[in-house]
Structure formats: structure tokens, C-alpha cells
């Protein structure tokens, strides 16, 4: 178990060693976005911009235009609070800026709605040229952060505050755009009751739901969907063809994120596959992360229900 923000902190400090062009910019949340280790090791490549996110993003664009590889970090909600700055300084200029938004979704718990990143993917998905990634565990975070540093162009990485289980073992290789099967029920290979697409904070509940349903005789597969954009249509269409239904579950607004991206793939291919989208339909509230997942429809029970309930024709 490790929060993906913690894995990011370790990864960026390690990458700083290898690549002197990497710089990190913070807006008074480095203690929460976990840039402390990088700052300690490379103080001259760490810039604290204060509580001024627009300026931080703009400065990162300038650094990128002069050959640096800037990683800007803050809570997801405060980064996309500066959407128009991102639109012009990062997306339109196609600057090599890596945006790291932590504290994704309801999972942050007690701090409450104003601190929850619930619209970041929806807002950023509409911008051209920005790659959107949400790692599912520590290993995948390491790989995604390393990829982002190499990739030329804007990248947004969405991270959890809360700890998430390790779903990958040693030999795992993350691939841009692809779905990553993290649970397949024993014995079943051909056709499934449902394929669940999850990511970040919702993976644990999705795997739990599939295991519970397996005991009840339902075959449900779970895919980790670490790439929100560009989402490769092949895997999504395969999953849809091999299952009675697709279920997407995300700790994000149900509008604009993974579920919407999947719906667009299905509609674009003219595939009449049922898709049930689970996600936030309103602002959250304070509480524990687990309580909020239950109250707002993202728990294992909700996912199980989405996999087997009758779909009115």
C-alpha cells in the first residue's frame, strides 16, 4: 500500500539524479505533493512560487521553452483552477510542462469538497496536446513519471492522497493508451458478465467487487485504465465485445473523465454496448474516504450492483 503521491515524490527525486534538466515548481503544497526529497537533493532546481498557481504554471512554460523539463505540482483542483493559463501557456504553446495534480477526488476525505479534484480530467481532456495519466499504484507511478520526463509535450498526472494497494508485480510494463487487466476470474477466458474499467482510488473497490461476484458465480474482469487521453480504442472495443456490459468507475465527476472517454469510443465505433458509468454526480463533503465512497456510489457494493443489475431496455 502506498499513496501514488508518495511514489511520485520518490520517483521525481530519483529522476532528478539522472536528468539535470528536470526542475520542480511548487505552490506552497510541496509537503502534500511530496516534492521534499527532490528539493533536498536539488535545491537549485526547486522553485517555490508561493500560493500563486497561475504564475507557477506560466513560469514552468518559460522554463520549458528554454530547455528545462518542469514538473509543477499542487492539488488537482488548484491546478485546473488555472485552466485558461494551462490552455494558452501549456496546451496552445505546446510547452513541455508536466503537471502533477494530487488529492484526486472524494478519496481525500476530511478536508472536504473545496480541496477535491473532481473535474480535472474533464476540464483538461478538452484541451488539445495534453496527455492525461492516472497511475493505479506505486510501480505504475514510477513508470509514468519516467515516461513523462522523456515524452516531449504537455502531460498531466493525477495522483491520490490516500494509500492504494499494489496491483502490479515485478515484470509489469505500462503502455500508453492501453488497458491493463488486473483481475480475471478463474477459468473464464471467452465471455464475461462485465468488464470494469477503474483507475487510481477506485481500483481496489473494483477488484474487490469482481472477487465478490466471482464467489456468486458472475465472471467479471477488471481493467486498470491509467491513460485517460489518448485512450486506445482497440482494448475498449475488445472488452465491450467480450462482455455483456462495461462499467466505468472513477473518483471524478461522472461527466468528462474516464467514463465519458469510454462512451466516446463506443459511440464512435457504432458499438451498441451497455456502459454503466459510476462517478461523482455532485460536490462531495467531509468524511473518511471510505465513507464517502459508500455515500457517493463508488464502493465495492455499488460496483457489484452496476455489474449485475438489470438494465432497462
Amino acid at each position: 500500500m502506498k499513496a501514488t503521491r508518495d511514489a511520485f515524490g520518490e520517483a521525481i527525486a530519483a529522476l532528478g539524479e539522472k536528468n539535470p534538466r528536470i526542475v520542480v515548481l511548487d505552490a506552497d503544497l510541496g509537503k502534500s505533493t511530496m516534492t521534499g526529497a527532490f528539493m533536498k537533493r536539488f535545491p537549485e532546481r526547486h522553485f517555490e512560487l508561493g500560493i500563486a498557481e497561475s504564475n507557477m504554471i506560466g513560469a514552468a512554460a518559460g522554463l520549458a521553452l528554454c530547455g528545462k523539463i518542469p514538473f509543477v505540482t499542487s492539488f488537482a483542483c488548484f491546478l485546473i483552477g488555472r485552466l485558461e493559463t494551462i490552455r494558452v501557456a501549456v496546451a496552445y504553446n505546446q510547452t513541455n510542462v508536466k503537471m502533477v495534480g494530487t488529492h484526486a477526488g472524494l478519496g481525500i476525505g476530511e478536508d472536504g469538497p473545496s480541496q477535491m479534484g473532481l473535474e480535472d480530467l474533464g476540464a483538461l481532456r478538452s484541451l488539445p496536446h495534453v496527455t492525461l495519466l492516472q497511475p493505479g499504484d506505486a510501480e505504475e507511478t514510477r513508470q509514468i513519471v519516467a515516461w513523462a520526463a522523456e515524452h516531449k509535450g504537455p502531460v498531466y498526472i493525477r495522483l491520490t492522497r490516500q494509500k492504494v494497494p499494489d496491483v502490479h508485480s515485478g515484470g509489469y510494463q505500462w503502455k500508453l493508451g492501453r488497458l491493463d487487466p488486473v483481475f480475471t476470474p478463474a477459468g473464464e477466458t471467452e465471455h464475461f458478465q462485465a468488464s470494469v474499467l477503474a483507475g487510481g482510488g477506485t481500483l481496489e473497490g473494483a477488484i474487490d467487487a469482481a472477487k465478490a461476484l466471482e464467489k456468486k458465480g458472475f465472471s467479471v474482469r477488471v481493467f486498470n485504465a491509467p491513460t485517460i487521453k489518448p485512450l486506445d480504442s482497440t482494448d475498449v472495443l475488445d472488452a465491450a465485445r467480450n462482455s455483456n456490459r462495461l462499467v466505468s468507475v472513477e473518483d471524478h465527476s461522472v461527466v468528462g473523465g474516464l467514463g465519458s472517454a469510454v462512451a466516446e469510443v463506443l459511440a464512435g465505433a457504432g458499438l451498441p454496448a451497455p456502459l454503466i458509468r459510476l462517478g461523482a454526480t455532485r460536490f462531495g463533503e467531509s468524511g473518511t474516504g471510505a465513507e464517502l465512497y459508500s455515500k457517493y456510489g463508488l464502493s465495492s457494493e455499488h460496483i457489484q450492483d452496476a455489474c449485475i443489475r438489470n438494465i432497462p431496455q
Partner: protein
């Protein structure tokens, strides 16, 4: 018009501030998270406003003639909640529900859940613009109520604050008073290290504000500044209040780590004992 400063019962207010600090400690201990540092630095300012200065009616929170107060540094809400409960906006017992599921006492203030909250805040830098809107509305209506806005010193690093700082004098908003909780602390370190603000009075003056610098824990100075603000016309008012982050609990004072951390049982007892031991 306010009563003369001489008539203010300052020992009473000091007692209230101490008791509300105890409330805050209890709330945070029960919640297991929250922000003590900024709740304590702002406490005398809030107490001066809620228990003497503001025209407000806890039994009728929507009264149109009330003064408006925006806690723009929304994470300081435990201090505000303690004041609102004491003033009678909601039952004192409810303080124990802070940050719990279903509670009206959210981690950051929520105006649609809790009576007495003018504006939901929590994203720093937005309160002053909304305060300007309110002050403009009062002017449009020819109303005499005032708008107060409490800002954090880390918060004023946001660009939107300075957009607002430019706009308020343009509209001659002398019915608007900003109080800066200048505690020299934010999350990642001391304000002067994270993003130097000096020379601060000169900045606000250069933006055409009427500026006063005070000790934000001294009730006499707070009231004197508020009264002067009432008297000076034609400009918005900035009261730059020097404060101590974590004020009132020795092991929290000036300690950055107490920005956003709840005391455990032992620390809470120690804090409460200290607060109780202070002379009445």
C-alpha cells in the same frame, strides 16, 4: 455607529477568546485533522467582530441589514465555527461533528450547510473579490452595512487578491475592510521564505488603500483600527494585523507544523490546561 472603545469590556472578550480556543482544541482532537495555527492567529479578530463589532442577528442569519464577514482563508474555519456556536447560530454540541460525514461543519466553510457562513471558501485568493461584489451591492442599495474580509498572509500571494486590491479603490469602497492575519506562516514554511511580501503596508498604500498596522491580538488596537476605518471615507480599508500562528498554546506558537495538524489526546489536554491556567 460603534460604541467608544472605552465602553468595550475587554476582559470579557479575552475570556471568550480563551474559551473558544479550548473549543477549537476539542473540535480538532475529535476530528483528528484540521487547522489550529490559523484558527488561533485570527481568534481575537473574530471575537472582536462577532462579540462587539458586527451588526448581526444569529436568530436571523439572513437579515438583510447585517454586516457581512468573509473568512477568505477558509481553512481557519474551526475558529469561525467556535465563534458562530458561541454567538448562537447553532448548538455548541454540534462543534464535535467537525469534518465528520453528514456534518454541517465541513473541513472548509460551506454557506449552504451552515447558518452564519456568508461564502463557501477553501480555495485561497477568492474572498476579496466576493467582498468587493458585496460592498458594491451595498453602495448600489444605499445600505449602511459593511463588508469585512479576513485574508491570510500566504493567501495574498494569489494574483486575484491584487486584482481585487486594484479594483476596490477604483470604486471608492470605504464600506469594505480587509483584515490581514499576518502570522508569517503558511504550509511549506515562513511566509518571508516562501514568498516575501515586504514592504506590505507600502504595497497596499500604493494600491490606494487606507492602511493601518496593528497587533492582531490586542483588542484595543483592533477596535481602534475598526473605528478609524469607519471614520475615513473614500477608500477601502486594510488593517494589517501582526499575529502569532498558533497563538495561545505554547507548543503551537510560531510552529509551522501546527498549520494543519490536530492535537492528539495528550497534546489536547496540555493545550487546554494551558489555556485554562491563564488569568481571568
Amino acid at each position: 455607529m460603534a460604541q467608544a472603545i472605552q465602553s468595550v469590556n475587554i476582559p470579557r472578550l479575552e475570556k471568550i477568546a480563551r474559551e473558544l480556543r479550548v473549543d477549537v482544541i476539542r473540535m480538532l482532537e475529535a476530528a483528528g485533522s484540521g487547522h489550529p495555527g490559523g484558527s488561533f492567529s485570527e481568534m481575537e479578530i473574530l471575537v472582536a467582530l462577532y462579540f462587539h463589532r458586527l451588526r448581526h442577528d444569529p436568530k436571523n442569519p439572513a437579515w438583510e441589514g447585517r454586516d457581512r464577514l468573509i473568512l477568505s482563508k477558509g481553512h481557519g474555519c474551526p475558529g469561525l465555527y467556535a465563534c458562530l456556536a458561541r454567538a448562537g447560530y447553532f448548538p455548541h454540541e454540534e462543534l464535535a461533528s467537525l469534518r465528520k460525514i453528514g456534518s454541517r461543519l465541513q473541513g472548509h466553510p460551506d454557506r449552504l450547510r451552515l447558518p452564519g457562513i456568508e461564502v463557501s471558501t477553501g480555495s485561497l485568493g477568492q474572498g476579496l473579490s466576493m467582498a468587493i461584489g458585496m460592498a458594491l451591492a451595498a453602495k448600489l442599495d444605499g445600505a449602511s452595512w459593511r463588508t469585512y474580509c479576513i485574508l491570510g498572509d500566504g493567501e495574498i500571494q494569489e494574483g486575484q487578491i491584487w486584482e481585487a486590491a486594484m479594483a476596490a479603490p477604483k470604486f471608492n469602497l470605504d464600506n469594505l475592510t480587509v483584515i490581514l492575519d499576518h502570522n508569517n506562516g503558511q504550509i511549506d514554511g515562513p511566509v518571508e521564505e516562501i514568498m516575501p511580501l515586504a514592504p506590505l503596508p507600502e504595497k497596499w498604500k500604493a494600491f490606494n488603500w487606507h492602511v493601518q498596522c496593528i497587533d492582531g491580538h490586542d483588542f484595543k488596537e483592533i477596535f481602534a483600527a475598526l473605528e478609524t476605518a469607519d471614520a475615513v471615507q473614500g477608500k477601502p480599508h486594510a488593517i494589517l494585523a501582526k499575529t502569532v500562528k498558533g497563538k495561545g498554546v505554547s507548543f503551537m506558537e510560531h510552529q509551522i507544523e501546527w498549520h494543519g495538524k490536530a492535537p492528539n489526546r495528550e497534546q489536547a489536554e496540555k493545550a487546554v490546561a494551558e489555556l485554562a491556567g491563564k488569568p481571568d
